[in-house]
Amino acid sequence: MSPETAEAKQNSTSKHANVPGKPEGWVPAGDLQEVISLEEMQKLPKETIFMTGSEAARESIRRANVDMAIAYPITPQSETMQQAGYLFDEGYIKDYYRAEEEIGTMSAISGASRAGVRSLTATSGPGLMRGMEALASWPGARVPIVMLNMCRVINTPLAIQPDNAEISFLLNTGMLVLHAENQQDFFDWPLVAFMVSEEVDVTLPCTVSVDGFFVTHARGNVAMCDKKYKIPPRDGWRNAVPSMDNENPPARISRDAPIQKSNFISYHMHASWQQEVFSAVQRSAKYFDKYLGGLIEVVNPGADEMIIASGAAVSQAREAVRQEEEKGNKVGLIKVKTIRPFPTAQVIAAAKHAKVILVPEFNQTGWLHKEVCTTLYGHTQAVIYNGPRVYGGMTMPTELILDWLKDIREKDKSRNHF
């Protein structure tokens, strides 16, 4: 272990002498946890608990060795971040506060991450849009923040209902974007997000999006290891760019010339900086592959009819696949885990043989459909159907997917999805 790493480890153990409201000699719960690698944690014996997605996220955060959490309440995110407050009180998180609003939140958490500490925030639809200026600047600033995003309607009329249109606004920011299917993913993936985003050749923010209410406020089985374990701390010395801690020789770290000048060199520098950010997104794929067991999951590979989905739509598609199986039909399913980096090669390999492809989504815009079309263009003869989609808070009945499959098989032109 290098001296720097040793120092980082030592510093990660907070000194909580005389914490207001705590008895003398109080030891933060996080200091009593044992640090193990995420690979080791994934292999530990697990207990399965029936809990909401928000609770699953809380248990993930408990084991994530978070230094700093900042958030502003918004439905349906609040459930999780108020529980993060309890984790702070217990000593699992070292510092925590409720910020003024999302520009303040997203700016402050970028300040924390620039200091070299592990930083967490969370938001939902309108909050994400409000913080967009700040969070769109995170990748260029190379701050490995993890942002949980509990998706919610962003369109007028105002609604608190689930709808994941906001993910489309994250796709071209340079952020890493995961779209979790269920409560189990929402426990597993934040831990993965921290490990990957803090890899030195990545050093990028990562959002773990999940469909609000369907996952955050509904219960599902979540298998997890004992809470006495936590993943290793962030090493603030290992970044693609130095932390803003003034621990480097006083070179002019952030001087404006020539980036802000109007000349060819400045354009070139800015272009190469952007290229590097998006290259780092691609470099993250190998780590996601390791921790997530592949960037995609394939059910019934080789089927003529394939469904490609992410998030809660995967669960609905799984049920459709099961019901089709009962009828003797083999329908395939590709679960896309990482939206950024998009698993282009994997999706092509798993879908190019298909004749029919459906892309069920919980939004009006069909951002995943566009991704799939772009990815498979020139690689498949399949008809890629533009749906089915629900939005504005609607649920997606399994029957909707089954109806589409039936209409396609029967070539029922009276239906409007052709």
Binding site: N11, S14, K15, D67, M68, I70, K94, D95, Y97, A99, E100, E101, I103, G104, T105, S107, A108, I109, S110, G111, A112, S113, R114, A115, G116, V117, S119, E133, A134, S137, G236, M244, D245, N246, E247, N248, P249, P250, A251, R252, I253, S254, R255, D256, A257
Partner: protein, 292 residues
């Protein structure tokens, strides 16, 4: 980390640019510099692209001179003239998004306290009136009411200088500027009053007419913020371009402004006053002992 970070490994110094050699040999690291030392040591900020006669630049230079620990200081700024000079300094500078300074500084300072519990690091927000009271108002207010432990320096040129002279919240009532074609309707925002409402530990209003006083004020603001909570220094730094002040008259304008409506003010909380009195008494005793 220590002051040694500044010094290159033995044998390397002579191969570094002469500016860096000067920083190591004749810089202000580890030494307390006075205004009367200016010109006799390598300042943290020298070259800059500011307009000739810019009073803001003078103020920024003096604040850099006042830094108690430049090797453990980080500046946070936003769009505006000031960052053109601040970013040329030999101190890390975060040039963030519009009006995000006090939110970024809140997270940064807390993060640094977690990571370096034994090493106090000074976080300083320095930006213009528009960046703080217009687009950054919410972040500024909340950082004050949370009593975040960093200092905020407002470079108050009473206008949007960098974008070409639009009125800001700090522009005087009645002034005809871009975006106030009939004269500014509302009064100049009373930020000192708001700072008092937020019960800041140290509040000062200053015009850079007395360089030693600027250095003393800046140092007090930084040291009190390090120890207790938010501090605020509001400095009149005229925009000689937008207000058409001839370069040779910039300082006269500063004196006139100070006399008319921008007199020096300083407000301490009780704890900050006791702390500074004690600190400055010790400093004086040490200086006296050093002379003997």
């Amino acid at each position: 980390m220590s002051l040694d970070t500044v010094k290159p490994a033995p044998g390397y110094l002579e191969h570094l640019p002469v500016e860096y050699q000067d920083l190591v040999k004749h810089g202000q690291y580890g030494k307390k510099k006075k205004v009367s030392d200016m010109g006799k040591f390598k300042e943290l900020i020298e070259e800059h692209p500011m307009c000739a006669g810019c009073a803001m630049t003078l103020f920024i230079r003096l604040v850099f001179l006042a830094l108690p620990k430049p090797e453990h200081t980080i500046f946070v700024g936003t769009a505006g003239c000031g960052r053109l000079a601040i970013s040329q300094g030999n101190v890390p500078f975060i040039y963030g998004n519009y009006g995000d300074t006090n939110a970024v500084a809140s997270g940064l300072k807390r993060g640094l306290e977690l990571r370096f519990p034994e090493q106090k690091k000074d976080v300083i927000v320095m930006c213009g009136d528009g960046g703080l009271v217009d687009i950054g108002f919410q972040g500024l207010m909340h950082s004050w009411f949370r009593h975040e432990k960093f200092s905020t320096f407002m470079l108050d040129n009473e206008i949007y200088g960098n974008t070409g002279g639009q009125e800001s919240g700090m522009t005087a009532q009645g002034l005809v500027a871009k975006m106030s074609p009939r004269g500014k309707v509302d009064e100049k925002m009373d930020m000192l009053g708001l700072a008092k409402v937020a019960k800041l530990d140290y509040i000062a209003r200053i015009v850079p007419t007395n360089p030693a006083r600027v250095v003393r004020t800046a140092r007090r603001a930084i040291l009190i913020a390090r120890e207790f909570g938010s501090t605020y220094v509001q400095a009149y730094t005229s925009c000689n371009i937008e207000y058409s002040i001839p370069t040779p008259d910039v300082m006269q304008d500063a004196f006139d402004k100070e006399k008319k409506e921008y007199g020096f003010e300083e407000h301490f909380s009780d704890r900050a006053k006791a702390y500074i009195d004690d600190l400055e008494k010790k400093d004086k005793a040490a200086a006296k002992a050093a002379k003997k």
